[in-house]
Amino acid sequence: MKKLINRVDTVVDDACEGLAAAHPDLVRFNREPRYIMRADAPARGKVALVSGGGSGHEPLHGGFVGHGMLDAACPGEVFTSPVPDQMEAAGRAVSAGAGVLFIVKNYTGDIMNFDLAAELLKADDIDVRSVIVADDVAVKDSLYTAGRRGVGDTVFVEKIAGAAAESLASISEVERIAKKVAGGGRSMGMALTSCTVPAKGSPTFELGENEMEIGIGIHGEPGRQRAAVRTVDEIIEMLGVPVIDDLGLKRGDTVIAMTNGMGGTPLIELYIAHNQLAKMLKDRGVTVAHALVGNYITSLDMQGCSVTLLRVDEELLRLWNAPVHAPGLRWGM
């Protein structure tokens, strides 16, 4: 394993410290318990947005702490959900009396730890609500699984609910918007190579030289199907069609589209991928109001990409366009 690290057990703290060193105007890092918060939090009667999850998905979530997005992010160990102490302390630190919204990706451990933290905060009369993001169409949502995984749509939920909170909307209103975004987004991803978790030191899974994994999760958890590598246009068809079908997109619909890198894929390849996604949507008469192409929710050093589409209306578009200034996302200010 070759990695730009000092020690495997300081990877997360060292990275968080670096984020704060790079953006002292935007964020502050609290080491124990570990969270990243807006430098200007708590902000004047504003609903506080707190997210978190395992590390290794940067810029998610710490890179999305800032104006118009999250108030705090709680990074767990690599691919491991954070512990309740973190969300409890972060919630208290950024709560401004208008309520706290937890944005939680749908994984068994994340849900349990956020639930425990919510109980601790509610005991002190803080109005805590939670929105669960579960947008990965590669996973069947049934009684026989833990439900769909939370992946790319999380970025959209954090941006759009963040804009609503910044406009001083009430906790019920921010929760409604967040749930609307969580309900309207779908994703699917693929990998060309495995990631390597620093503490494990070797790849999580093996893929042959000519193999790819379709339906990969963001933790290197194997996907649904292993197949021979094809052209990127064909791969994007394999990802895009299930997403479009699951959303039931039809002619005249408008979406925000994200072609996301898993961490180890160069931008030149992501733009080729996005070109195909844009063509597919155009062919179906679907308008792409905005697009993100780049590394937004990654899986360490994994090569691969994911596609996320969010169906939007005027309300969501207006919030999307609102100013944002976080380490990982910035426009309008």
Partner: protein, 207 residues
């Protein structure tokens, strides 16, 4: 009868077994999960040992400390699940200096109930419950039949191991392995493997 000293030894033995098997647990998790179970349990049990109250603390105080440390150090699903198990175990033996056979039975039954309530898994979902439940069942019947605590825990240890072995052929219905469908078959559930270690530690120490 097990007392505070044996409960302390039980906790230390579980920490030791987790440490010795950490890599194996992580490898099992890499196959069908996210490759962190051994790493997390080792970090958690090290924190448990560091924070364990001083000698002389009663069994329930020790068990409660284990639960709190696991919840605040492990993360993932295993932190809340094992943490809740130890907190419930603590409540089940509150105020006892020595554990009668019925207390040992109640301790592990309460721990299992905590796991089931939080994780909502049932037998054959390919989770730690597949090792935990048969172990508790055997423990309870053996003690009710008048077997010694040592013999009953030895039987529970075997049942936990057998339950863990049986997860190999199962398709997962909870946790990250459930995303795999049929591809989870052929792999042991990592949580069931750490639960087998828990009962192995109990069998070696709670006498």
């Amino acid at each position: 009868m097990p007392d505070a000293t044996s409960v302390r030894r039980f906790i230390e033995q579980f920490a030791l077994l987790v440490d010795q098997h950490a890599q194996e647990l992580t490898e099992l998790d890499a196959a069908i999960g996210d490759a962190d179970h051994g790493i997390n349990m080792r970090r958690g049990m090290r924190a448990v040992i560091e924070r364990l109250p001083a000698d002389g603390s009663a069994p329930d105080v020790l068990l409660k400390s284990v639960g709190s440390s696991l919840i605040s150090k492990v993360g993932g699903a295993s932190g809340p699940l094992y943490g809740t198990a130890f907190l419930r175990a603590s409540k089940a033996v509150a105020g006892k200096a020595e554990l009668e056979p019925a207390d040992v039975s109640a301790l592990f039954r309460a721990a299992l109930q905590g796991v089931v309530e939080l994780g909502k898994a049932v037998r054959n979902d390919k989770t730690m419950v597949d090792a935990f439940e048969p172990a508790v069942d055997v423990l309870q019947t053996s003690l009710a039949d008048g077997k010694s605590i040592a013999d009953a825990l030895a039987a529970a240890k075997s049942a936990a191991q057998a339950g863990s072995d049986a997860t190999i052929d199962l398709v997962a219905r909870k946790g990250r392995a459930s995303y795999l469908g049929d591809r989870a078959r052929g792999h042991r559930d990592p949580g069931s493997a750490s639960t087998a270690l828990l009962f192995a530690a109990a069998a070696e120490t709670l006498q």
